[in-house]
């Protein structure tokens, strides 16, 4: 049981390691967010699942944590991506298409409604 938990936690930390390497290697904000969101979500989930095996008494709280991480991690990265798009952080040269720029719907400023 303890071995299984340790192995799962180790897998989680490997995923987190890949995420940190990705943060260094990726060329711009958006790609970094891609790597950051996915890998940190699975890394955190795996670490917490491993912890469930190590500390069976905590399972309720850990499952709650997993649920909150799964619900909030994508939201935060979406907000970061949106904010960095609207303050015009440049894309990398390898970007092939930007549909948001040509869409007239998106150019309307929506903050005036309030």
């Amino acid at each position: 049981m303890e071995l299984l938990g340790a192995i799962i936690t180790l897998m989680g930390s490997f995923v987190l390691l890949v995420a940190s390497i990705g943060l260094i290697r990726m060329p711009d904000v958006y790609n970094r967010l891609q790597v950051g969101t996915k890998a940190t979500t699975l890394g955190t989930i795996l670490s917490l699942i491993g912890l469930v095996f190590l500390m069976p008494g905590w399972w309720g709280k850990l499952i709650l944590l997993i649920f909150f991480v799964m619900m909030t991690n994508p939201v935060s990265s979406h907000v970061l991506a949106r904010a960095s798009y609207f303050i015009k952080i440049p894309f990398t040269d390898r970007t092939v298409v930007d549909k948001l720029k040509v869409s007239t719907k998106a150019q309307k400023v929506e903050y005036e409604e309030k």
Binding site: V15, V18, A19, I21, G22, R25, M26, P27, D28, Y30, N31, L33, Q34, V35, T37, K38, A39, T41, L42, I45, G57, W58, W59, G60, K61, I63, L64, M70, M71, N73, P74, V75, S77, H78, A81, R82, Y85, F91, T92, R94, T95, V96, V97, D98, K99, L100, K101, S103, K105, A106
Partner: protein, 162 residues
């Protein structure tokens, strides 16, 4: 009424999981607090109005969770492959996809799922189009991209949130 009831149920489940016990006194305290909170917080909320609580809806929720977990793992393998490859095989871009979903909650779930699946990140949502940063653009066309990214989740969410 439905919203109120579901909020109460969620708060109660969170309370039980946090306490990790079924002692009656703790349950009673939790029930009273959950009742008050759901009364005050959920007078006007309409988060769960569109949700279908039929057996079919519940089965599809479970299938959706399964598909979602499989995709999460796939997306991580994908990210790992891209990051560790010396050539850094990316071809990023922002594409537009359309969704047929009407319910706000379903759209939130869809955007979240898109963010956590292989190579896609929701950047903006305008009416019924999602703008998605795709790490490896296969096709710029709205229809093809929608089919590639959205459809696998949409067919479940459509059933769950009518």
């Amino acid at each position: 009424m439905k919203n109120f009831f579901i909020t109460f149920l969620i708060l109660m489940i969170v309370w039980i999981l946090l306490n990790n016990t079924f002692q009656p006194d703790i349950l009673i305290v939790g029930a009273v607090i959950a009742l008050f909170l759901s009364m005050f917080l959920c007078k006007r909320c309409e988060l769960f109005t569109d949700m279908n609580f039929t057996p079919k809806g519940i089965i599809y929720t479970i299938i959706f969770l399964g598909v979602f977990m499989v995709d999460l793992i796939k997306s991580n393998l994908d990210v790992t492959r891209r990051v560790l490859n010396p050539a850094l095989p990316i071809k990023p871009g922002i594409v537009e996809v359309k969704t047929k979903l009407k319910s706000k909650f379903a759209r939130m779930l869809l955007a979240n799922s898109i963010t956590l699946t292989p190579g896609t990140l929701t950047v903006d949502v305008k009416d019924d189009s999602f703008f998605i940063h795709w790490i490896d653009v296969k096709d710029e066309d709205v229809k093809v991209a929608s089919k590639e990214i959205v459809e696998k989740f949409e067919k479940y969410l459509e059933v769950i949130y009518g």
